[in-house]
């Protein structure tokens, strides 16, 4: 039962927040796909997980919109990887999405009375 609920939450939240999550993660420094998926899983304590099948189409879509830019980087002693970084356009989108998200969460909290929780 619990498993099913968490799966539902997972899908709904992902739908609304996936773009925001990815843009946030590449805000400070460029990261590659696997790193992004690991960070999401770790920082959400395992609640949110992006599998390869959904992560990459999303990354490519962001890239197409010009919000992130990927490029191949080969660091010494490492394999060639594709790193994504936030573009100036992406920065604006991220700021806007953060505001929207904050307002949304505040609204939910006020209604559900969870601000003191």
């Amino acid at each position: 039962m619990q498993y099913k609920e968490s799966q539902m939450l997972d899908r709904e939240l992902k739908k609304g927040s996936a773009e925001l999550l990815i843009l946030s993660l590449v805000e400070d420094q460029p990261r590659h796909g696997y790193e992004i998926s690991k960070l999401i899983e770790m920082r959400s304590g395992g609640t949110l997980r992006f599998k390869v099948a959904s992560l990459y189409p999303l990354l490519y879509r962001l890239e197409q919109r010009g919000w992130v830019q990927g490029r191949w980087v080969e660091k010494a002693g490492q394999r060639r990887r594709r790193y994504y970084r936030l573009t100036p356009a992406g920065k604006k989108v991220l700021a806007a999405q953060r505001d929207t998200w904050r307002e949304f969460v505040d609204a939910i909290n006020r209604i559900t009375g969870m601000e003191h929780a």
């Binding site: 590659h32 796909g33 696997y34 998926s37 599998k51 390869v52 099948a53 959904s54 992560l55 990459y56 189409p57 999303l58 490519y60 879509r61 197409q64 394999r79 060639r80 990887r81 594709r82």
Partner: protein, 896 residues
Amino acid sequence: MPDWKQEVRLRLAVLKIDPAREQEIVEELAEHLEDRYTELLSAGASPEYARRAISDELSDGDLLIQGLRRTERRVATEPVILGSSRSRNMTTGLLQDIRYGARTLKKSPGFAAAVVLMLALGIGANTAIFSVVYAVLLRPLPFAEPDRLIFLAEKDLEGELIGIAYPNYEEFRERAGSFAEMAAFLGQSFNLTGLEKPVRLQGRKVSWNFLRLLGVAPQLGRDFVEQDDRPGAVPTALISDGLWNERFGGRSDVLGEPVRIDGQQYTIIGVLPPMFEFIRRGDIFVPLGPSLTEASGLLNRGNHFALFGLARLKEGVSVEQASEEMKTLAAQLEQQYPVTNKGVTATAQELKDFLVEDIRPALVVLLGAVGFVLLIACVNVANLLLVRATRRQKEIALRMALGASRGRIVRQLLSESLLISLLGGGAGLLVGHWAMQGLLSLATPNIPRLDQVGLDTTTLIFTLSVSVLTGLLFGLLPALQSLRTDLQATLKEGGRFAGGAVRERTRKVLLVAEVALALVLLIGAGLMLRTVFQLTHVDMGFKTENLLSMRFILSGDAYNPERRRAFSSECLAQLEATPGVESAALTLSLPLFQGSGWQSVFITGDKSVPESKDLPSAAFTPVSSNYFDVMGIRLLAGRMFNEADTATSTPVVVVNQTLARRLWPGEDPVGKRLKQGFAEDKTPWREVMGVVSDVRQNGIDRDPPMQVYIPLQQEPMRSLIVVARTAGDPLAMASMIEERIHSIDKDLPVFNVRTMDQLLDESIAQQQLAMALLGSFALLALMLAAMGIYGVMSYAVTQRTHEIGVRMAMGAQPSDVLRLVVGQGLTLALIGVAVGISAALAMTRLMASMLFGVSSTDPLTFISISLLLIAVAALACYVPARRAARVDPMVALRYE
């Protein structure tokens, strides 16, 4: 470790995205999966479990593919290697091929221009000639159900078409079961007077149902009805749209208006629709019935005026059946009326066939000629493509090595050929348009329906189909040839020698064919040239310089024989008194113009009368007494006519040399007697007074007929031609002579004002046109053939530079090399000439009817044209041969 890249690639295959992009995604995702795999293993999972888990994650249902489908555009890229396209869509494939072809052509603009130009000339000439052939021969006549319209005529003993005797026509109409309806029409010209200036107009007397049978109704007024078409009926007339507009200002109240036609009052009852034309232009149509009187001669079964039948076939009856029936009926009439109908048969043919039968052979020959030009152009283009294919051999071998199928390669090469031929066709339309303008300005007006020639849909479809066919024709051989490539050899040797022998043989065969085709055309043109030369150098039997002629017709009852005699004398007196006129005479018919004469059988006084069908026939020509002097016809025996030969003196004739020789060989004809018509006819016996030299009475290209001249005073004709020998330019005298005639009768229309030189030009115009056209086609063919020989030889020389270098290093002199190359080219040309001569022997027979004074297998033409072609071929070989002879052996040996 599993091959993650392969895992990803398999899943992406359905997306068909750009290969480079696909590679990128494969790499990135494989990295990710590898990290994940390591992670799972280090967490303690078994490799088998980890592999399966990751495989599931990778697909996650259909999430990956659906997600990527949204972001990655599916590109219908040209495959990197032509021939490995996975596309099953025929159209995309074709477009792709054409795009590729366009790019290859762009890379060699010189080649493209040469090929398109050659094709444009070939296709253009075909377009022009086809548009004429279509308008004249193929397009249906503008009448209701035109293929059921039948032209009826009778034939004389010699099988020549003659008019139907009216009584015979009536029998045919009553008895023939093949036709739903039958009408008669009689060619006639009319004097229209009472307007500002009297005019002579062409028209017809027709039976009342004539227009109805054609399915034509007047645009204004009414058609004839049966009551109009009877002896004694009130005279009625229909006029053409042209006459209505020119002479009556297109007024709608013209109906009911009285007009004077041949001195008689007629009422206009209707106006024919615009563009209405039956066989030739006609401006006045009147019913035949009122003319059916004893005096007209129409009711005499022995008279064959220009009266013909028009009939509509019954449903289900063929033209052949109808013709058979007409023959049977004519045979019955022959039994029934042996005196008049002996040897007369009847014929039925489709109206259109009758219209075009004179011009058809010429058009068919011309169509064949332009077809040859196009074939030669095709051969040239095929040769150029073969050379190109040799250069592209490596490319093709590479494509095949990379897996392109043979079909795919052929398709690609053919698409390229089609592209070329369509470009050629487009340019050909332009060339055709110009050629047609030129042709129409040259053409004689007596070719039926020529005014309807134009670039219409049918012509466009023709040009398009010819272009496509041409493309297939010249493209197929090189395309198939390119498949015979030995892949390994080609790739190894850089394509220099591989497959060369076969291809070279093909080129040589094509060259031979080209020379043969050109020779056939040249011989055709040569024969036409000789024909025109012969026609312009025929001894006509009279002097043509400074001779003016014009016609008038003394119609109406007012001009009785007495008045006609008086008019002739007065007219001649007036003309002789005109300054600038050296002498003038009157005649019923001019030499050279068959049909204007009066052909009749006759009997002679000193021989037993043969059966009527074996009676001799001669051209009877009433002339004024000074006619022979004016024309320059020489007296050979006896005397010419003089003032003493009058209506009341002894009836006399002068005969021509041909008649004298044929009827009285070795005897003196002077004093013999002859009588025009049959033994029982009441014509007078006439005494032969003299013999004169022959003139070509029936046409330049016909031998002089037997001819009998009668004094005009003894046979006063209504239809007369003035011939005047002038001191200066005859045409400048025309209006003055016309004035003199009008001073005698102001209502007399004078027409057909022409100089004899004009008439001569007109009478050979058709042959001259044929010569000009065949000549230009032949010249084009010669040029193309020379280009072809030059192309093949110079290519052969470049291919053999190495060999020539070796020869020269071994001591061969430049002259040896020259001989070698020219000899090789000439051998091919000679084979071509041999083939061409045998083809020409078979083909020129088709043009026999167009020739005059030269046989269709004239040895002189055949030999001189062959020599000309060989000379041109030698020249075309000489240029590359000289280049070969100047080869520096050292350079040649280093060559490649």
